[in-house]
């Protein structure tokens, strides 16, 4: 049998010269080892692109844990089409160049069925063209608007997490109607920050509000006090969305700047993902509001599905690791990995996926999806998938810091997150 496998090399353009390839030490290098055709009992191989090093490592670690947990749940329930799921993780270093290399590695070396993962949008944008060329379905969990904007290709989908544009525009009614009409935005001078700036400005104006100042902070900044005087005095609400390790400084310095007389503050939890709210200096946030993709603290109305998901990933009621209460999760985003894997499972089962030749069928099956009800597969909440834009839409949560916990204050409807289609990927050929 072993011998048979070794002879079973796929015909390629270099068929004539395969003999040469067998020569010498070359065969000991990875990638030279002959591989076997997918068999019915062989695992489904999912290439998992993960931020293990670089600036995204804090997210990557939890994406990793969530993915592992989801794969275990799927496998315990019999896998996909009766085949177990195998997760092949590769570090992308939070670097677009490496990201693309990793996609190539999944496709041509690991012979993965599909690729999946990663948060930082520049990595997704660096990787997606290769995924398209290699005809490798690439399921991203990055919340970037790049998928639905039409920038990518038919092989790239985002069925597990809503995008920034949705999130931001869904926040505007709450902010304008409950916190105040005059908003000052503080955001990183990243493309991601600019998405916030553009989509929120438009949405808040539609609500009769006004953005009175837009303060773009350079990505290399480590201290912020000097920028706060740019906040106009008549500001009702500060809208902040910062990322990176300097956010703690940002919040602390904001506290020192305003002292006891602060405006209302609304922030994206991206700032404080993986950060303990009990951290010294964050008391200032008491009473302020946050967008959360998924509430970190188990809420009074916690669904049984969230309970199950939480336990499976190993997260306690406070959103921290069960084994270490100080190890806080990236709860607002990481559910996307869980849900995406379940969408992949559903898509593969619907399309009767057998192997790489069925990749187009898999994508068509996912494109055909619409309603995704709240369930064990979708513990964050019900969702609507738009097959044309390859983007999912779902509920958003607004929580308020009360006694050092994030308490649910408002849940937006799915409709709040919808916007007109900007692309129809289904019209592209495979």
């Amino acid at each position: 049998m072993a011998i048979k496998k070794h002879l079973d090399v796929q015909p390629t353009r270099r068929n004539v010269l395969t003999g040469l390839a067998a020569a010498g030490a070359a065969t000991t290098l990875p990638g030279f080892a002959p591989y076997v055709q997918a068999q019915s009992s062989a695992p489904i191989r999912i290439g998992f692109q993960v931020h293990r090093t670089g600036i995204g490592a804090a997210y990557g670690r939890w994406y990793d844990r969530t993915t592992t947990a989801a794969a275990k749940v799927i496998n315990d329930a019999g896998g996909i089409n009766g085949r177990p799921v195998e997760i092949i993780a590769e570090d992308d270093g939070t670097d677009p160049k490496r990201g693309a290399e990793v996609i190539e590695k999944f496709a041509t070396y690991h012979k993965a069925d599909i690729a999946f993962g990663t948060l930082f949008s520049h990595v997704v944008i660096g990787s997606a063209p290769r995924a398209g060329e290699l005809k490798m379905p690439y399921f991203v969990v990055s919340e970037g608007h790049h998928v639905a904007s039409g920038m990518l290709n038919r092989y790239t989908l985002q069925p597990g997490i809503t995008d920034v544009k949705s999130q931001v525009q869904a926040m505007a009614p709450f902010v304008a109607n409950n916190l105040g009409k005059k908003v000052t935005m503080i955001f990183p001078d990243f493309a991601f920050g600019h998405d916030h700036r553009d989509y929120f400005s438009a949405a808040v104006e539609a609500q009769g509000g006004e953005v009175v100042a837009k303060i773009a902070i350079p990505p290399t900044e480590t201290s912020f006090t000097k920028y706060f005087p740019k906040i106009p005095r008549n500001t009702d609400v500060i809208y902040h969305v910062m990322v990176g390790p300097a956010v703690l400084t940002f919040v602390k310095e904001m506290g020192e700047f305003f002292g006891s007389s602060r405006p209302e503050i609304f922030g994206f939890i991206d700032s404080l993902e993986a950060v303990d709210l009990k951290t010294q200096g964050l008391e200032f946030l008491e009473g302020t509001y946050f967008w959360e993709g998924n509430p970190r603290y188990a809420q009074a109305n916690q669904s049984e599905h969230d309970k199950f998901y939480r336990a499976a990933v190993g997260v306690d009621q406070n959103g921290a690791s069960i084994s270490d209460g100080k190890d806080v999760s990236t709860y607002a985003h990481m559910f996307g990995c869980w849900e995406t894997l379940h969408v992949i499972k559903a898509g593969m089962e619907a399309s009767g996926y057998q192997g790489p030749s069925d990749r187009a069928k898999l994508i068509e099956a996912v494109e055909a999806m619409t309603n995704m009800p709240l369930s064990q597969a979708h513990p964050q909440g019900a969702k609507m998938f738009n097959g044309k834009t390859h983007q999912v839409f779902g509920h958003q949560y607004i929580t308020q810091v009360k006694g050092g916990r994030l308490e649910l204050a408002h849940t937006t409807s799915i409709e709040d997150t919808m916007y007109p289609d900007e692309v129809d990927y289904t019209s592209q050929s495979f």
Partner: protein, 307 residues
């Protein structure tokens, strides 16, 4: 000469032999090796240590990419625009930065490169900042040849690599190349032999910058993305590492260094999550035991004639 032609022939032959994965890697390595060779012209041969080479790479990459994104120019002309932008840009930087020498030159190039990086972020509506943008697969064609096809990509990379390799070889064999080496070895003496140091250095910067720009434009065209991460400091350090590891002042050293670093990262990340640890230890050991880089070691021990 024969060695270099043999390398090109080997790379050509490898196209038919290599499994897909290594075939793809090699295409990438060849483009990055062009970037490293460009760096070698300035650093290895002329002795100008730049810490901002990413800006030249990006001049080509964004010159090409933005002309396609904003003006829908087709790939071939866009590549030439990228190249022209690199020529003008490296001339400009050369004129300014060459007023300094040594560590000041390092900082000046570093600062200009940082300014370029920040400018890319600043003009986000045009450049899409850190995220960058995609060059659509359909647009990546020159004379009807689809550059996103793996075979075509490999040959495009090989052609660019061969042109640059032979150009560098010709340069270092030519009297001009000898002068560059003389400048590296002893600038004052070279001047007192009647050489116009300034003009030669400027020439080296422009050649290096243009070649780096060609690598950047090619990278964008062959792999379909343009992004600000190619303007960040670590991307400027990369060719320095490639060149120092491969062997500064050797023609194929940069290629060897690039190949080595690529597989060091790739193989070690297969073994462990801590691939940076492995890379770090290997770098330290190599500097201790191969003081002139891999090709330098080979030249010292066996092939004294290696250019």
């Amino acid at each position: 000469m024969s060695l270099h032609l043999a390398l090109i022939a080997l790379l050509f032959a490898l196209h038919f032999i290599l499994p897909d994965y290594h075939h793809g890697n090699l295409a990438r390595v060849m483009v990055l090796a062009v970037y490293a060779m460009a760096y070698n012209v300035m650093f290895g041969y002329t002795g100008l240590l730049s810490l901002g080479h990413a800006m030249f790479f990006c001049a080509g990459m964004y010159g090409m990419g933005l002309s396609m994104r904003l003006y829908e120019i087709s790939a071939g002309p866009a590549f030439l625009i990228g190249l022209s932008v690199s020529v003008i840009f490296s001339l400009l930087i050369g004129l300014l930065a060459l007023r300094t020498i040594g560590v000041a030159f390092m900082i000046v190039t570093l600062m200009f490169s940082q300014a370029i990086f920040l400018t890319i972020l600043y003009f986000n509506p045009i450049t899409r900042g850190d995220e960058g943008f995609v060059i659509p697969q359909a647009a990546r064609q020159i004379a009807g040849i689809d550059l996103s096809d793996s075979g075509n990509r490999y040959f495009a990379a090989l052609i660019l690599f061969s042109i640059c390799l032979l150009a560098v070889l010709k340069l270092v064999r030519a009297p001009t190349g000898r002068v560059l080496i003389a400048i590296r070895e002893n600038e004052e003496r070279a001047k007192m032999l009647g050489y116009d140091i300034w003009a030669h250095k400027l020439g080296a910067v422009v050649m290096s910058g243009t070649m780096a720009g060609a690598a950047g434009a090619a990278y964008g065209l062959l792999f379909g993305t343009v992004g600000a991460s190619f303007a960040e400091v670590p991307f400027s350090i990369l060719p320095l590492l490639y060149v120092l590891l491969g062997g500064p002042g050797t023609v194929i050293g940069p290629f060897v260094g690039t190949l080595f670093m690529f597989y060091l990262r790739d193989l070690s990340s297969a073994l462990t999550d801590a691939h940076m640890l492995v890379a770090g230890v290997v770098l330290i050991l190599l500097t201790i035991y191969a003081r002139r880089g891999i090709m330098g070691l080979i030249r010292e021990k066996w092939l004294k004639w290696l250019p």
